[in-house]
Structure formats: structure tokens, C-alpha cells
């Protein structure tokens, strides 16, 4: 798994490439937690390169969502591919997460 962090205005964008599982989930969770300073509780996880997430990855995402919301912000997903979308659907996460087709729409969703 490869992670990248960039800033779009006051929104922090975390890009995830590869696979999130038990061996990499902690890294994702730590990266998200590390960005939770000041206004950076507004976060977008760019899933363009995300190939797979196991239950450990789902737990990391959920922990990130809870932390962001606890800080008055949110964690929103962008560009979720078919396989990952299916896992999110099956686990009911699509009912509690906001998901957007691309990073631009996810970032601009915070403006509304």
C-alpha cells in the first residue's frame, strides 16, 4: 500500500494505492490521525488506486471517520472502484459514509 497526502484548500486529501489489510491498515489509520490538526478534520480519502480493503481496512476507515467527526469534520471517500464498493455495500458502510465519484466533487462537497 502507498499513501500520499496533499492539501486542497482546507481539505486534506489522502490518496491510497494498492491493498489495505491487516499489515497496512495501521499505517492508513495513523496517517489519517496525523492529519487531524486544526481545520484538517475535513478529509477525503482518494480511492482511485485502491484495489482492495479487508475487514482491517474497513476498521481503519471507520476509525478515521469517527475521529474526523469527533473533531467537527468528516472523512469522505472519492473514486471508489467496483470491488471496494461491493465490500463497502456488503458491510453497510455505504449507509454511513459519504462517497463521491471523484476527488474534485468530494472536496467541493465541503463547500456546501
Amino acid at each position: 500500500m502507498e499513501l500520499s497526502v496533499s492539501q486542497c484548500g482546507d481539505v486534506c486529501v489522502v490518496g491510497v494505492r494498492g491493498s489495505v489489510d491487516g499489515s497496512t491498515a495501521a499505517q492508513l489509520q495513523d496517517t489519517v490521525a496525523g492529519q487531524l490538526t486544526g481545520s484538517a478534520a475535513r478529509m477525503v480519502v482518494d480511492c482511485t488506486g485502491l484495489e482492495y480493503t479487508s475487514s482491517a481496512g474497513l476498521r481503519a476507515l471507520l476509525a478515521g471517520v469517527k475521529e474526523c467527526r469527533r473533531h467537527g469534520g468528516d472523512l469522505r471517500l472519492a473514486a471508489v472502484s467496483g470491488g471496494v464498493r461491493r465490500v463497502l455495500d456488503l458491510s453497510g458502510f455505504t449507509g454511513i459514509l459519504r462517497i463521491y465519484p471523484d476527488v474534485d466533487s468530494a472536496v467541493s462537497s465541503y463547500a456546501g
Binding site: 491498515a25 495501521a26 475487514s55 458491510s91
Partner: protein
């Protein structure tokens, strides 16, 4: 798929302790034959399974695998076992009791079809085999009809546990096992990952199936099936979500996608169903193998 019953932590290649693997086969009528495709892939990749959990029709496939039957044998037995003939014998007295409950009596052991053929088919396939004596550890889940709790059978006669697990509401009577009156396992959890979590599995391969929605509702039966599908699919998601969050390790969901509509007893489609099971497993295989290679003790992450 290789698996042997053993005590203590499982030994991996080279004597290194490996991760404990469980296979869960959920409810899904004949679609559960997709588990044969899954087993073929696991066998080819020499993935050892320490525990198999089965629910509803999935319990038959789970039991056959736990007995050590080959994939081809399981497919052949399933085609003979899971046929429309199972529900062919109507229980007219039970059907009349729906409209005349006071006259004919109505109770908790209600079912509109005789289970004689089911019991006979199960006896032919499993004989007197006992769960605790099978090659691989097996758990079969059903639902306690009186309390709604999940019932987990890890010992006793295979046929009794399966009969309880496939007690389709309205069709077959609930079945009594060890003093518990049980009904179909899907009613408490269509994809029973819980017993595998409780058993301490590090990696849980969970093959589940979504229930079809009716294309048209033109009979009370289809109306009932539609209600059942709505409840089952929502229960599948909510239970799966809970187990994902609660489990310390990894749960890998394998949910085959069927382009063709599969009927309850569509045994003619078994070859196609197996293919889809194999295809869905292949798609998850790189992730599964990576998890199995992770060192023991490395938690499932966050």
C-alpha cells in the same frame, strides 16, 4: 483444500506456526455450490483450512468438505441431494390447518411439506457420520425457534444438524436437536462468521449469497419469498458489518455475482454456479495469500 483436525495452533510449512483459517459458507440454496469452486482454488493453492462453518444449504457443502470429499464428489452428491423432489410431498393436513387452525390444531411444528424425502436424502449422503469425527472441524448453525438465538452444532449426528439448519420456514417443520427446536440458520445469521470469530480464527474466508428479489409477485408464496429476501439481505449486511468491526483479524468476503437468475433448486446450473464461485475466489486470491503469509500474531490491524 487440505485440512486435518488437530489440537493447538496450526503448523504451517516448515514447522512454522501459521495463521488459523476458517471457511464460512452462508445460506443460499443451490447457489452454495459456488463453495465447490472456492474449495477447488484453495486446494490448488494448498491453503489449509482449520474450521468450516455452514448455514442452511451451505451446511451440506460444509459437511461434505469436512468429510474430506473431493470437489467432484461434492458436486455430484449435491446434484442428487438438493432437488425439487425434496419439497414434492405436500402435507395436506398442515396446509388445511392454516385456514382451520382450531379444528385441525396449529402449533410450532408447522411445515407444508413432508420432510421424509429430506431425511432420506441426508441419510444417504451422510449416514451416521458424527460432526466431531469428521476430518476437519465443522460447525453447523441453525436458529432456536423459541428464542431466536443462533444454535451452533459442533458435535452430534451430521444429518440432525443439517436437517435443523435447512428447516425453511413454512416449507419444513422446525427440527428438534438436543432438546432445542430449531429452524433454518439464515434466520439468525445468513453468513455465520460469529462462530469462527469466537473460535479464534485469524483469517476468515466468508462466502455469502444475496437472496434474489422476485421478478413478479403473483402468489402468496412469492410475496412471502420477497419478504424473506428483504429481511435476509438486510440481516446479511448488518451481521457482516458487525463482524467486520468486531473481529480482531481478517474477514475476506467472497460473494459470487450471478449473471443468470438461479432458482431455489436449480441443480442443472451447478456447473455454472461452481464457475462463478471459482471466479469470485480467484479475484480475492492475491489478497488472501498475502494475508496468509503475514506473520502470526500480527493483528488484523486497526
Amino acid at each position: 483444500m487440505r485440512a486435518e483436525r488437530s489440537e493447538g495452533p496450526p503448523a504451517g510449512r516448515g514447522g512454522v506456526t501459521r495463521r488459523k483459517v476458517a471457511l464460512v459458507i452462508g445460506a443460499g440454496s443451490v447457489k452454495c455450490a459456488a463453495a465447490i469452486g472456492l474449495a477447488r482454488v484453495l486446494s490448488r493453492e494448498r491453503v489449509d483450512v482449520d474450521l468450516i462453518v455452514g448455514c442452511s444449504a451451505g451446511s451440506m457443502f460444509a459437511a461434505l468438505m469436512a468429510m474430506g470429499r473431493t470437489s467432484d464428489e461434492v458436486a455430484a452428491i449435491a446434484a442428487r441431494l438438493w432437488t425439487r423432489e425434496l419439497t414434492a410431498t405436500r402435507d395436506f393436513r398442515a396446509m388445511l390447518s392454516v385456514v382451520l387452525p382450531r379444528l385441525l390444531g396449529f402449533g410450532e411444528r408447522f411445515g407444508m411439506r413432508s420432510d421424509r424425502r429430506v431425511r432420506s436424502a441426508l441419510a444417504e449422503a451422510f449416514g451416521d457420520a458424527r460432526i466431531e469425527a469428521l476430518k476437519t472441524r465443522l460447525m453447523i448453525t441453525a436458529t432456536d425457534f423459541r428464542t431466536g438465538e443462533q444454535a451452533v452444532f459442533d458435535r452430534g449426528r451430521v444429518v440432525d444438524a443439517i436437517r435443523a439448519s435447512i428447516a425453511i420456514p413454512f416449507i419444513f417443520t422446525p427440527a428438534e436437536v438436543d432438546g432445542r427446536l430449531c429452524i433454518d440458520g439464515f434466520l439468525s445469521d445468513p453468513l455465520p462468521v460469529g462462530p469462527a470469530v469466537r473460535d479464534g480464527a485469524d483469517v476468515i474466508i466468508a462466502m455469502g449469497f444475496e437472496s434474489n428479489y422476485q421478478e413478479r409477485i403473483d402468489s402468496p408464496g412469492r410475496f412471502a419469498f420477497q419478504l424473506s429476501s428483504i429481511v435476509t439481505n438486510n440481516l446479511l449486511r448488518s451481521r457482516y458489518a458487525f463482524h467486520n468491526v468486531a473481529h480482531h483479524g481478517e474477514v475476506i468476503a467472497i460473494v459470487p455475482e450471478f449473471r443468470e437468475r438461479i432458482g431455489l433448486f436449480d441443480t442443472a446450473r451447478i456447473p455454472y454456479i461452481i464457475e462463478e464461485g471459482e471466479r469470485a475466489t480467484e479475484a480475492m486470491l492475491p489478497h488472501l495469500l498475502r494475508m496468509l503469509e503475514a506473520p502470526v500474531g500480527q493483528a488484523g490491524g486497526a
